[in-house]
Symmetry: C2
Subunit: 364 residues, 2 copies
């Protein structure tokens, strides 16, 4: 029996995608072999790779002035690749420190240049998105870095809080909310995302980067490893060396599934509806509450607590018995967290809310 | 219908492993979710990760004085990670240039130190393994690097050609022959291998490295990125960040399959038998020949030609129609190449030899 899996990552995949993967496991498209067994230089895999790139371009409306790369190493690798690929001409960058990964990106980057935390919400355990103005940023910064959605703390940047960076290139970690809401890619110089939340099994990382930045070798720090250089993979359509073929294959299926669903616009509507169900309940509950600033609430990751650790544990345990699993909150926040990515069905959120109601009744 | 797939990589996986992956695709061990959907911090995946490490340790008889790491980025990433992790104290290293990847490793490494090609077989298009003596290596080299098996050219190091490096740490790229024959790990300081030939789907790279080297920070070059530093993952049992979970899961199944088969000793016997079938035929054939020096022949990758390009193409095409696929040789060598990794059944090699006999008869 399948469960409703609220894991923050790696996380739930669309069941129909898993069923297709299952059906093709021993023989992909009549080739007599699994996708995992074929040369990445062969016609079949090159087609998959091309389709995946085209699919993401279509879904996010990515222009020809951007590269779309499928890389390895996770967002963590990009925490270093970003300064290594962008601080070559100008050794300054500004970071918005709005959560755990935003902070990690900031710390890792410090080895490579003069980095400044332009704003932080650490003072309130990252429960809000700090407001910034054009003056928050150094006009000569090589880039401004944000984490668009904060997986652990359950906040996200919205139109109201998006930094006004002027001409400074904006870099965004969208690991936990890529494809969950419509984004104007043109506002960004670089978007990156580990795949394991909204795209595919762990092992591939998407980087969407302006060609003008990638193509200018002066942007790279001189000691940037070849394998961390975006240009290396950009020149080879992400096939410089053997790619994580299986993850790219599943990503392609997820992109097709999302397209068939109606694209990101339709998915955003469903995501807002799903998050609304849970937030509406939380806002009137006498047992459960969320610490997150209302206007900054994520529609992907929703942390909540009862305020009583023992009761939290009881909740997680009983929920699990009811096929609502991986609801334990991150240790930095405690309590519970429901990650309701694109692949989480509406019924999963409804089942969770029903269970929370019942639990509240029984634990007054 | 499954074919016999002679792809050099990514390549054939044991059919029983694929069947198990297929059966668990929607529900791994009663968890109600796929392995690709679960948190890498959860009990279930941590167990898989631990089992995979223990399995490889047992199969290769790896001592406690070595780390076993599951990394991302492929062998290509290690071409840089090796000098970055090993040239900190002493900026010299010697390379044996015996093929395409050996050469790539050598070239990439040159950015990081004083590298010397101690020997090369480029003079004869890498058809042999050059003999070396203790004097071939600089006594103060930080390491000597070899590619144990040369995927494209079909050679391998054997007891007769293994370099006598004395106390110099030996680093070996075993991407295309790990687990194919018994190796004494203690002779090596570092063994590394992209998984996509004998271990698992592409996306994970195994690094087996002496703890004494990894644990001494002075061995690292100061600008080594955190994510390329072996110590980063060694301290976290390869779970510093989200790992390529699916590839590690399949690797674990392949290790179990190999153990059930009788371990590396039994597999080596079968590999030698399989390679023998093909080489015996080649040695008496009047149509097909192999350019590789007899004593240096790989038991994993066997390139051969007819000497007539048109006939080669005809062979590849007709073989393919007979479910013997991906036999086209690498562009650097031409002709054909049969990669007969661990997962290639004896019957696959027999079918290939039978087909070659028939083709020879028909094309005298």
């Amino acid at each position: 029996m399948r469960v409703y899996n609220f894991s923050a990552g790696p996380s739930i995949l669309p069941e129909e995608v898993l069923r297709q993967v299952q059906s093709e496991m021993l023989d992909y498209g009549g080739t007599g072999m699994s996708v995992t067994e074929m040369s990445h230089r062969g016609k079949t895999f090159v087609e998959i790779n091309d389709e995946a790139e085209a699919g993401l371009r279509e879904l996010m409306n990515i222009g020809d002035d951007y590269y779309v790369l499928f890389l390895q190493g996770g967002a963590s690798m990009q925490f270093e690749a970003i300064p290594l690929n962008m601080l070559g001409k100008n050794n300054k960058a500004d970071y918005l420190v709005t959560g755990n990964f935003a902070q990690k990106a900031y710390k890792e980057g410090q080895k490579y240049g003069d980095l400044k935390a332009a704003a932080s919400s650490k003072d309130a355990n990252f429960t809000y998105i700090p407001k910034t103005t054009r003056e928050s940023f150094r006009p000569d910064a090589a880039y401004v870095h944000i984490a668009q959605n904060n997986t652990i703390f359950g906040t996200r940047f919205t139109a109201a809080t998006m930094p006004d960076v002027g001409d400074i290139p904006l870099v965004s970690d969208m690991s936990s909310n890529i494809l969950s809401e419509v984004m104007d890619v043109n506002k960004y110089a670089v978007i990156y995302a580990g795949a394991q939340k909204n795209i595919a099994p762990a092992g591939v990382t998407v980087v969407i980067a302006k060609k003008s930045i990638v193509d200018d070798p002066a942007n790279c720090l001189p000691y940037c490893p070849t394998m961390l250089k975006w240009k290396t993979q950009a020149d080879e359509k992400s096939l410089y060396n053997t790619p994580p073929c299986f993850s790219i294959y599943v990503a392609n299926l997820v992109f097709k599934y999302l397209k068939a669903f109606g694209g990101v616009t339709a998915m955003q509507k469903q995501n807002e509806y799903k998050a609304g169900l849970l937030y509406d309940f939380l806002d009137q509950s006498k047992l459960f509450k969320t610490a997150v600033n209302k206007v900054d609430r994520s529609i992907m990751n929703i942390p909540f607590v009862t305020g009583d650790e023992e009761l939290d544990n009881k909740f997680v345990k009983e929920a699990s018995k009811n096929a609502l699993v991986t609801l334990k909150g991150h240790k930095l926040v405690g309590g519970m967290r429901a990650s309701i990515y694109n692949a989480m069905p509406v019924d999963g959120v409804k089942a969770l809310v029903e269970f929370m109601k019942k639990f509240e009744c029984e634990n007054k």
